[in-house]
C-alpha cells in the first residue's frame, strides 16, 4: 500500500514537472529571439555568474576544509622511508595546489569575464610561440625537479636490503595473511614448495628436507622490531594479494609463483605510537590492497612493533612449527632427524635434561656444527 502511494506521488511530481516544462517551452516560443544572434542574454549571464560563484565557493571551500581538517586525514607515519615519501607527497602537493589554483582561477575568471556581450567582439588571437614555449618549458622543469626527488627515494626504497635485515615471510591467501619467521637458531627461512601444501597443517608448503625449516615458526600477527631494517619476503598461494601497511607506507603485491620483497625500518613501537596519538587502543594493521575475491575487505592482520629486547624475547618464546606439528617429523630425512629434534626444541630422550626453548641457542649451534 505504502509503495503504491509513493509510486502515485512520484508519477504526479513527474507530471507536474512536465507541465512546467511545457509551459516554459510555450512562453519561450512567444518571446523568442529578441537579440540579434538568437542568444538569451539573461540565461547567458546567469551561467557566467554561476561559474563565478562556483569558482569562489569551490576554492574557498577547498582551502577552508583542507586547512581545517587535513590533519584528520593524515596517517601517522612510522617508518624511515615513509618520512621521505611523505615529504615528497607534501612537496608535490604544494606545487600542484599552487598551479591548480592559478589555472583554476584563470579558467573560471575568463569564463565569467568574457561572457557574451553583443557590443563586443572576441580578439582574434590564434597563436603566440613565446607563450607556448613558456608553458611548455616551465612545467617540464618543475616536473623534472619532482622526478629527481622521487627517483632518488625510489632507488633507496627498492635497493637491496642489508645483511642484518630481519627477514620475515608474509603469505597471502584467500582471505587471510600468515607470517613465517626464520626461527631463532638458524635465522634462515627453510625452503618451501607449493606442492607440499596440505590441509593437515603444512600450510606453508614447508620442505622438511631442508634443515633451515626445522625452527621456522608461524605467527598470527606480524611482530616487528623498532629501529631495525625489516625485509618482508612476500608470496601468495592462490591469487594476487597486496601487502599494505598504511602507517609504514609499505605496499607490495603478493604474486603466486614470484617472491616479491619490501624492506623498511619501523621507527615507532606500538606503545610509542599510542602515546603520540593519545589513543591507548591504537594498533598498526596490515590490509590487502589488490582485489582478491569476496573477502578482500576483511584481510586484516594485526601488526605489533616492539623494542628490540621485547622483540627478541617474543621470538624466543614462539614454538617452532615442527614442534607444533610433530607428525611431520616423519617427513624429515633420517640423517637430519636429530638436528630437527634439537632445532625444533623437542625434549631429547636421555642425552640432555629437558631443554627449555629459551636456553637452547648455544646448545643448538654446537650440535649443528658436530652434525654437519
Amino acid at each position: 500500500m505504502m509503495s503504491l502511494i509513493i509510486g502515485i506521488g512520484v508519477v504526479l511530481v513527474l507530471a507536474i514537472l512536465y507541465m512546467i516544462f511545457r509551459i516554459g517551452n510555450l512562453m519561450g516560443v512567444t518571446k523568442k529571439s529578441d537579440s540579434q544572434d538568437g542568444i538569451d542574454e539573461d540565461q547567458n549571464n546567469l551561467n557566467a555568474w554561476l561559474f563565478l560563484a562556483f569558482l569562489i565557493f569551490s576554492l574557498v571551500g577547498f582551502y577552508y576544509y583542507s586547512f581545517a581538517h587535513i590533519k584528520e586525514f593524515e596517517l601517522p607515519v612510522a617508518s624511515e622511508h615513509g618520512v621521505v615519501t611523505d615529504d615528497l607527497f607534501w612537496l608535490t602537493m604544494w606545487v600542484v595546489v599552487g598551479s591548480f589554483t592559478i589555472i583554476f582561477i584563470g579558467l573560471f575568471w575568463f569564463t565569467f569575464a568574457y561572457r557574451y556581450n553583443k557590443n563586443r567582439r572576441a580578439q582574434f588571437f590564434a597563436d603566440n610561440h613565446k607563450l607556448e614555449l613558456v608553458w611548455t618549458i616551465i612545467p617540464a622543469i618543475v616536473l623534472a625537479l619532482l622526478i629527481f626527488g622521487g627517483l632518488d627515494a625510489w632507488s633507496d626504497i627498492t635497493g637491496p636490503a642489508t645483511k642484518e635485515a630481519e627477514v620475515i615471510e608474509v603469505i597471502g591467501q584467500q582471505f587471510a595473511w600468515t607470517v613465517r619467521y626464520p626461527g631463532v637458531k638458524d635465522k634462515e627461512l627453510g625452503r618451501q614448495n607449493y606442492k607440499l601444501i596440505d590441509n593437515q597443517g603444512n600450510e606453508f608448503g614447508l620442505d622438511l628436507t631442508d634443515k633451515n625449516s626445522f625452527d621456522d615458526f608461524k605467527a598470527l600477527e606480524l611482530h616487528l622490531p623498532v629501529g631495525r631494517e625489516v625485509l618482508l619476503k612476500i608470496r601468495a598461494k592462490d591469487v594476487l594479494h597486496s601487502v599494505y601497511l598504511p602507517h609504514f607506507r609499505v605496499k607490495m603485491d603478493a604474486v603466486p609463483g614470484i617472491q616479491t620483497n619490501f624492506k623498511f625500518k619501523p621507527t615507532l613501537t606500538t606503545e610509542q605510537m599510542r602515546e603520540q596519538l593519545g589513543n591507548p587502543n591504537f594498533n598498526y594493521e596490515m590490509a590487502c590492497a589488490e582485489i582478491c575475491g569476496q573477502g578482500h575487505f576483511s584481510m586484516r592482520l594485526l601488526v605489533v612493533v616492539h623494542t628490540p629486547e621485547e622483540y627478541e624475547k617474543w621470538k624466543a618464546a614462539q614454538e617452532p612449527w615442527l614442534k607444533q606439528n610433530p607428525e611431520y617429523l616423519k617427513r624429515v630425512p633420517a640423517e637430519l632427524r636429530d638436528v630437527a629434534l634439537i632445532k625444533a626444541g623437542f625434549e631429547m630422550e636421555g642425552t640432555t635434561p629437558a631443554a627449555t626453548v629459551a636456553g637452547e641457542p648455544a646448545k643448538s649451534t654446537e650440535s649443528k656444527s658436530t652434525l654437519n
Binding site: T92, Y116, G150, A153, W154, A287, I291, F297
Partner: protein
C-alpha cells in the same frame, strides 16, 4: 591508386547517390537497422552507448548505496536483484565486486570507447572532411553489429546465476582465471572474454575505416592543416586503437587458453580449494604488462575524442580561433606516441623490476607536459572571447575543469616513490574518474548537445541542458573531490566495507556525502534523457547553422540525407577557426568561403593564397596539399 579511386568515386557520385537514396527509402531494415550510412550508424552507437551508460551508472549507484549507507536495509532491491540481496537485506559481497567490475568495463569500453568514438568519429569524420560516407560503409555497419553482439554477450552475463565477471575491470589472473577463486570467474568471465573479443573486432573495423576516410576522402582543399581538431583527435584515437587493441586481444586469448586448455601463461604455483594446481612457470605480471599495454593507451582512446570535441565547441562558442592550433595537434600526437610507453606506471608495486619503475616514472611525467600545454591553450582560447554558454559549451568548460583537477593529481601517482602509498587507494579512484571518466563523459555530452541539431534536425532544450549541466557538474565534483581526502587517509579500493580496520573506519560521513552526490548526479541524467527523447520528436526545428560555426557539416541541409550534400561536395579554402577575424563582417567565416571573397579580412600570407584559387569548385593548388583529388 588511392588518388585514382577517390577521383572516380567523386565523379560517379551524383548518379550513385540517387540510386542508393531510393534504395534506402524503400526498406525499413536497410534504413534503420542494417544501414551503411555513417549518420545512422553513429546514432546507433549513440543510443546503445546511452543505454549502457544508464546501466553502468545504475551499478555505481548500487555499490555507492553499500558504501555510503552500510547499515541500510536493501531488501526493497530484491525484486531487481533477487538473490544478490542477502537475507539480512545487504548486498552480497561477491555481487558488490561484480558491480564494481561491470561498472568499470561498461563505462570504459561500451560507453566511453564505443559510445564516444563510435558516435562522433562516425558522425563527424565524413561530414567535417567533406566525404559522402565512410571509406567502407559495409565495414562500418559490421563495426556496429559486432559491438551489438558484444553488448548482448555482456548483457547475458549479467543474468547468470553465478554472476558476471567480478575480478575487477582489469581482470588480473589468477583471480580471473580460477573459478575456485570467485564465482564470477566461471561462465561470467568466459562471456566477458568473448564479449571483449567481439568488441575488439568492432573497434578495429571502425578504426581502420576512420583512418582510411581521413587520409583518402577529404574534399577539395581539405589539407591536413585545415582539418578541424575533432578530426585530428579521431584520427590519432583510431591509430592508437589499431595499435593497442590487438594486444588486449592477445592477452584475452592467452587467458582463455589458461582457463580452458590448461596452459600456464599467467599461472604458477597455485594452491587453491584444497589442491595444488599443475600450472607452473607462468607469470601474472606478464598479463598485467599485456593488459596495460592496451589499458593505458585506452585512457587516451577515451580522452582524445572528448578533447577534440571540446576544442571545436570552445572555439566556436568563444567566437575565437582555438589558441595554438599546431600546438594542439602536436600535443595530441605527442600524447599519442607517449601513451604507448607509460603503461607500467600502473604496476610500480606489482613486483616488477624497480629499475623499470624509474624508467616509467620519467616517461609518465613527460606526458604531463603536452597535457599541460592543452589546458593552457584552452584557457587562452577563453581569454578575450565573447563566450556563449550553450549547453555544449558548458559541458566543454566542465571537461577542461575535470581535465585540470583530475590530471594534476597524476603528478603524484606517476612518481613511483609517492605512488607506493597511494596505489590502489581512493586517491587513484578520484584521479582517473575525474581525468578520464568525467572529462570524457562531459566531452560526450558536450558533443551530443552541440551536434544534436545536425543529427536530428531539431534543437535540444537549452534550459534543461543548463539545469542538467549544473546538477551534473556540481554533483561530479562532490562525488570525486572528497575521494582525494579518503585516499590520503589510505582507504583501499574495491572494499565492500572498511569497518574491519581501525585505520579505515573513520570518515563514514564523507562516504555518505559521496553516495548522496552520486545518486543526485545519476538522477540528473534523466533530465537529459527526457530532453533527448522529447527533442527528437518535438524539439524546435534547427536552423542550418545554429551555432554560427565554420566547419563543413553546417553547410549540409538541415537533415542531411544519404551522401550528405545534395549537390557537389563543397570545396574548402581555409582553416576552420576564422572566428572574429578583424575586418570581417560576421564573426565567423566558414571554411567554404574563398580568400578572394574576403579581401577585407585576409592576412598578408592569405592574400598570396588568393592567386591560387582558380575559381570556386575548381581544383585548387595549395602548397601543403599533396593533391589527392
Amino acid at each position: 591508386m588511392a588518388t585514382a579511386a577517390a577521383h572516380t568515386h567523386a565523379e560517379t557520385h551524383t548518379h550513385h547517390d540517387e540510386h542508393e537514396h531510393e534504395h534506402h527509402e524503400g526498406n525499413f531494415f536497410t534504413t534503420y537497422l542494417f544501414s551503411e550510412d555513417h549518420k545512422t550508424i553513429a546514432k546507433q552507437f549513440l543510443l546503445l552507448g546511452m543505454f549502457w551508460a544508464l546501466i553502468g551508472g545504475l551499478f555505481s549507484v548500487l555499490f555507492r548505496l553499500q558504501l555510503g549507507f552500510p547499515d541500510a536495509d536493501l531488501s526493497w532491491l530484491r525484486p531487481l536483484l533477487g538473490g544478490w540481496i542477502t537475507e539480512q537485506g545487504k548486498l552480497h559481497t561477491e555481487f558488490y565486486l561484480s558491480l564494481v567490475t561491470m561498472h568499470g568495463t561498461i563505462m570504459v569500453f561500451f560507453v566511453l570507447t564505443a559510445g564516444l568514438s563510435g558516435t562522433f568519429s562516425n558522425f563527424l569524420i565524413p561530414l567535417q572532411v567533406g566525404a559522402r560516407d565512410m571509406a567502407s560503409g559495409f565495414m562500418n555497419m559490421l563495426s556496429f553489429w559486432f559491438f551489438f553482439l558484444s553488448s548482448c554477450t555482456m548483457m547475458a552475463s549479467l543474468f547468470l546465476p553465478t554472476g558476471p565477471a567480478s575480478g575487477g575491470w582489469t581482470i588480473y589472473p589468477p583471480l580471473s582465471a580460477l573459478e575456485q577463486a570467485i564465482d564470477g570467474s566461471g561462465t561470467g568471465m568466459t562471456l566477458w572474454l568473448v564479449s571483449m573479443a567481439l568488441f575488439i573486432v568492432s573497434s578495429l573495423l571502425g578504426s581502420i575505416n576512420y583512418v582510411t576516410t581521413v587520409i583518402n576522402m577529404r574534399t577539395h582543399g581539405m589539407s591536413f592543416s585545415k582539418l578541424p581538431l575533432t578530426i585530428w583527435a579521431f584520427f590519432f584515437t583510431a591509430i592508437i586503437g589499431i595499435l593497442s587493441f590487438p594486444v588486449l586481444f592477445a592477452a584475452a586469448l592467452l587467458l582463455i587458453f589458461d582457463r580452458s586448455f590448461g596452459t600456464s601463461f599467467f599461472l604458477s604455483d597455485i594452491y587453491i580449494g584444497g589442491q595444488a594446481l599443475a600450472h607452473e612457470g607462468g607469470s601474472p605480471v606478464l598479463f598485467q604488462h599485456l593488459f596495460w599495454f592496451l589499458g593505458h593507451p585506452e585512457v587516451y582512446i577515451v580522452l582524445l575524442p572528448a578533447l577534440g570535441l571540446s576544442s571545436e565547441i570552445i572555439s566556436t562558442n568563444s567566437r575565437k580561433p582555438i589558441f595554438g592550433y599546431k600546438a594542439m595537434v602536436g600535443s595530441m600526437l605527442f600524447i599519442g606516441i607517449l601513451s604507448f610507453v607509460v603503461w607500467a606506471h600502473h604496476m610500480f608495486v606489482t613486483g616488477m623490476n624497480p629499475f623499470l619503475g624509474s624508467v616509467f616514472t620519467i616517461l609518465t611525467l613527460i606526458i604531463a607536459v603536452p597535457s599541460a600545454v592543452k589546458i593552457f591553450n584552452y584557457v587562452t582560447t577563453l581569454w578575450r572571447g565573447n563566450i556563449r554558454f550553450t549547453a555544449g559549451m558548458l559541458f566543454s568548460i566542465g571537461l577542461v575543469s575535470f581535465f585540470l583537477t583530475g590530471g594534476i593529481t597524476g603528478i603524484f601517482l606517476g612518481n613511483s616513490a609517492v605512488d607506493i602509498q597511494l596505489h590502489d587507494t581512493y586517491f587513484v579512484v578520484a584521479h582517473f574518474h575525474l581525468v578520464m571518466g568525467s572529462a570524457a563523459f562531459f566531452g560526450m555530452l558536450a558533443g551530443v548537445y552541440h551536434w544534436f541539431p545536425k543529427m536530428f534536425g531539431r534543437m535540444l532544450n537549452e534550459k534543461l541542458g543548463t539545469l542538467h549541466f549544473w546538477l551534473t557538474f556540481v554533483g561530479v565534483n562532490m562525488v570525486f573531490f572528497p575521494m582525494h581526502y579518503i585516499g590520503i587517509a589510505g582507504f583501499p579500493r574495491r572494499y565492500y566495507s572498511w569497518t574491519n580496520f581501525e585505520t579505515f573506519s573513520g570518515f563514514a560521513d564523507l562516504n555518505t556525502l559521496v553516495s548522496i552526490a552520486a545518486i543526485i548526479t545519476f538522477a540528473a541524467q534523466f533530465i537529459f534523457l527526457f530532453n533527448f527523447i522529447y527533442s527528437i520528436f518535438r524539439g524546435r526545428l534547427a536552423p542550418a547553422n545554429p551555432w554560427s560555426s565554420n566547419t563543413l557539416e553546417w553547410t549540409t541541409p538541415r537533415v542531411p540525407q544519404h551522401g550528405n550534400w545534395p549537390g557537389e561536395i563543397p570545396t574548402v579554402y581555409r582553416w576552420p577557426y576564422d572566428y572574429s577575424k578583424p575586418g570581417a563582417k560576421d564573426d565567423f567565416i566558414p571554411q567554404t568561403v574563398p580568400y578572394s571573397e574576403t579581401p577585407e579580412s585576409n592576412l598578408p600570407h592569405e592574400n598570396e593564397l588568393v592567386k591560387l584559387e582558380v575559381g570556386k569548385g575548381a581544383p585548387i593548388i595549395v602548397p601543403d596539399n599533396k593533391g589527392h583529388h
